[in-house]
Symmetry: D2
Subunit: 333 residues, 4 copies
């Protein structure tokens, strides 16, 4: 359930306050130059520290335990570990009795029968995305020369969001935002009709990232209000370049050579430092709670490298599959 | 690539103008009462006929070829076939030379090296969703007593869309729309954190349906503009009922007992009867084209039962997985 | 559960006395020349008719319903159907009450709660291998120029088995046999260490064929009685040719360029025309039963093309995966 | 490629001389009591030390990094690590130029283009089975009250093998052997017809273990020389108990309630301390080589707990799937 991909396959594991979080990436072609330093730029971008992010500071140094030899991938699976060091002891047990609104406390208690690791969010923690970002940095190398970029379009509804962000931090409240991902330089032909469509696989991966609430490709929801004569992208050259890119670079589930563009809605962080209402299961009845601790006021600010990573993982996998199923050249030709 | 699911698994096959389209559904528990008549209501809702839908009329009668015995599922895979009868001979070959904007003509030619079935959209045709709707009707039985409903929220940007639809048909143009899906009566606990999250799997399935451009759960994109104190859903009873449902019935990837609600953006149909610009690959250079034929002016009107079907397939699969991985009761207890 | 493969994936469906049996083959590269006639030679070899095979005669004519266009594969899934025509009405219901020894009657009743199709073996029938043989014929084309051959090494313990076979038919009894499969011309490098090892995948596929009891690669069980100095195959040229082939063409799970060789033990057909002992569940207690009907006295005679087919399916899949994960050539080199 | 299973899924990773070896086990039900101490007995049985096993001594202490909380499984994936400590520096590079007969040196060089980790066998090393044994110990808890036992039937062809083993060690040669696995107490109904048959899945897992050359279920290869009237197992009571167990506890791919019994042929260890012939790729031409180092003279002596582990992993997975797909009880009944 924690694995994704057909040839290039990522598995994630770990808990926020356990020994470690990490991932295993299988199906990586041999011969890719790789060191731990190559993973740092994306991990650095994911780190907290800026206004609106949690004061919990972890070094987040990746350790590539397997699958690299003499500076290159070997073809064997890569396991990448991140130790948890800055775990703070506190009474998380209260969230089993009084689940925090917006969090997985209630569903975890019911699904796992009380056996879930409830400290710091356990396996639901955003820290598990560390392994995703590290694996994504490798996938980006497979996907080259195509490149992935991300942009924070708005936070709290504002393009210039410094002010609303400061206000939310001040109010112990949180904000959401909208992130745009763009992939340039993709070949024509990645993805399949139906269940392995590029959009289907990308959407699957994006919604695997905690806090995502929506995704739209190309023109997206506004496309539902256009006429076909406006929305269809005219093809203007033999490479498939289109005059517009309402389709977001994908037709029939398959990349068409134009930039793949999609936007992701990120909800306001569930952890807030304001009074909230919930059930008290031990005593029965509704109660008011106040959650203290170290929070991100706006997880949308840290999510862009995670979204880039899952994008890279999906498209690199589709690239390897496309190499495997290229049109047939009979023996002897 | 045409298969989806972990225990309950659907495979689709077929082409618009080939011998048949259909699907195989594996992992169906034995003992579910089933006849072909049970599939007809959803298939009927998917049929064309109304204003804004194609004049091509197919009987769309399902034939359950395998997996049913004496009126019940047997536990063996069900294969369901739909014969193609009303195929109209015409010059589809022209769309290889001059690919239709918005269609998969160009990417198919490049990906499949010219070997794709280009008649009537081939395997990219919406007719392939017949097998999905039939399989979904079976999945709904597995998912009972939970129920799935759909609603056309708007067409061409209008809640009362009759007028804009008539205008689009008149103009040989097309319209998109927004569909809402709602699932009531789900148990707490379907879905997993990360790659098997309920949202991830649902989004995957929804984007497997041709013409989808966006999906949002619960409050969706507007959630990105809310504060956490507004967005968090207070829990008000021991069943997990929440005062609001901004989360769309899912926390941490797992159903929380509230209705699962999401909206899907459907693009305006690519097939329009108006002049469009494209490349002519045989002669080189850009040319104007006019596509004649039988089209849906608004595929969004026919897509609701398809979206219900993929929703049922995903949630029924998650239900079977949840049954398989229930909390451990040691032997002897 | 009825699907196998990573890129090249076969799904089987159908029952002996239902409407049809067949298979869907997904992941087939586009551009392979293919007609139904191409499937007939292997299907013909699988047919009954010779001494020791069932008198039930079916035309076994394949119908490729999808995935082929203008004489070539399209890249879309191929569904191949075989109608059941020569089904004979009889009282199979008795085998639910008194399960036949060696058959799946008892386990099916318990596993499927009485809902299984019990006529003619239902989904357990060897007729389901028709779809496997048809798909295998396509896989052989992907695998070319490598070639697969099979040999009946012995029947009833005899290399010259005509006499023991005639005696078994006369006695209404049945015989088993040992089949050898050999694949020549494989490239070096198919398969992976551990769970996708060539032996692991081949053994999986072979034991999916009803009536198989054992498999051994290269020298097989006798290798367990050799010394390493005898068993290790000396490498004698740069192509990896070895002086001996005790390893059966596979090292570390990966093909080494030598012929892949394995042997399969096939049990004597469970259906015999002699009195046997079983339970009578309706009345309680043990009873003697005599199963009448049309049987193969020796299924081992019809199984060789089935074993060739699963061999082709596995190795063609590994070939496509190997194409997808070839050593990395960085962009620009 | 390093992952196996449908619900209960194991992934292995690591190299003999890298930082660590280990595994991740996903799909484990929550609530199973578990500590690292629970893994030690099977790991201890796998260790070297006895006559005929390598003098390399590793502590082989498992570290459960994730997925356990307060002494129970949580439902999240378990990652188990084993550090490599006793790695001995030597010139493994020579085996790239002159691949050792029987080893994966040649195929690895060709498949991975020279990027494989060639030290100590790299990812092909038997050390990777440590993670399998640890995961298997957890699977055994899921499978309880069913129990798995193993027996060394013969080494070097001898039931009383002390003498031949001592002679092989003295001669710097190696021996193979035959191991029998037996599972008692299984419920009726695990496994599926065709590709998820119990035999197919077990054989897949067994051949994933390095050094295996053959497998046979029940009576196995000798069954090919029996008559059906001898081989069919008469059913003697309502639990499906059979008078004989030629079928090895499986009919039609499904467990029948009798003990599951199979035998595995293990080849003589490829590493021997005697002169062997191979190619020298750097200089061209055939050369004689003598491989020094620490070897197991008989890996068959250490393999039984590994075979038990893969058996447990397969059957526990089939058990969880069977729970998920139990016969249908309609809502309200």
């Amino acid at each position: 359930m924690n694995t994704f991909g057909r040839i290039l396959r990522i598995s994630v594991f770990g808990e926020s306050h356990g020994g470690a979080v990490g991932s295993t990436l299988d199906g990586v072609p041999p011969g890719i130059p790789l060191s731990e330093a190559d993973l740092l730029p994306d991990l650095q971008r994911r780190k907290s520290g800026a206004t609106g992010t949690t004061p919990r500071q972890e070094p987040d140094l990746p350790k590539i335990v397997t699958g690299v030899f003499q500076g290159h991938t070997t073809g064997a699976p890569l396991t990448i570990l991140f130790e948890n060091t800055n775990t703070r002891s506190r009474d998380y047990r209260q969230f089993v009795e009084s689940p925090r609104p917006g969090h997985a406390d209630f569903v975890a208690q019911r699904k796992y029968g009380g056996f879930q690791d409830y400290t710091g969010g356990g396996h639901f923690s955003g820290r598990v995305t560390l392994g995703v970002v590290a694996a994504g940095a490798i996938a980006k190398k497979i996907l080259a020369p195509a490149t992935i970029t991300s942009e924070v379009l708005e936070i709290g509804g504002q393009k210039d969001y410094a002010e609303v962000l400061a206000a939310a931090v001040e109010a112990h409240d949180s904000l959401g935002g909208i992130i745009q991902i763009r992939v340039d330089g993709l070949p024509v032909g990645l993805g399949e009709p139906f269940f392995d469509s590029a959009e289907a696989r990308l959407a699957h991966a994006v919604f695997s990232v905690p806090a995502t609430r929506g995704i739209e490709f190309g023109t997206g929801f506004p496309a539902a209000r256009m006429k076909g004569s406006e929305h269809n992208d005219p093809i203007v050259d033999a490479q498939g370049t289109t005059a517009t890119n309402h389709a977001g670079g994908i037709n029939g589930g398959i990349t068409n050579g134009n930039p793949v563009v999609f936007r992701v809605a990120v909800k306001p962080t569930s952890s807030i430092g304001r009074p909230q209402q919930t059930m008290n299961f031990a005593q029965g009845g509704v109660q008011e709670m106040l959650v203290e601790g170290r929070h991100d006021s706006c997880i949308a600010l840290r999510i862009p490298p995670v979204l880039e990573a899952v994008t890279a993982l999906v498209l690199a996998d589709l690239k390897l599959v496309a190499q495997g199923t290229a049109p047939f050249a009979p023996a002897g030709e």
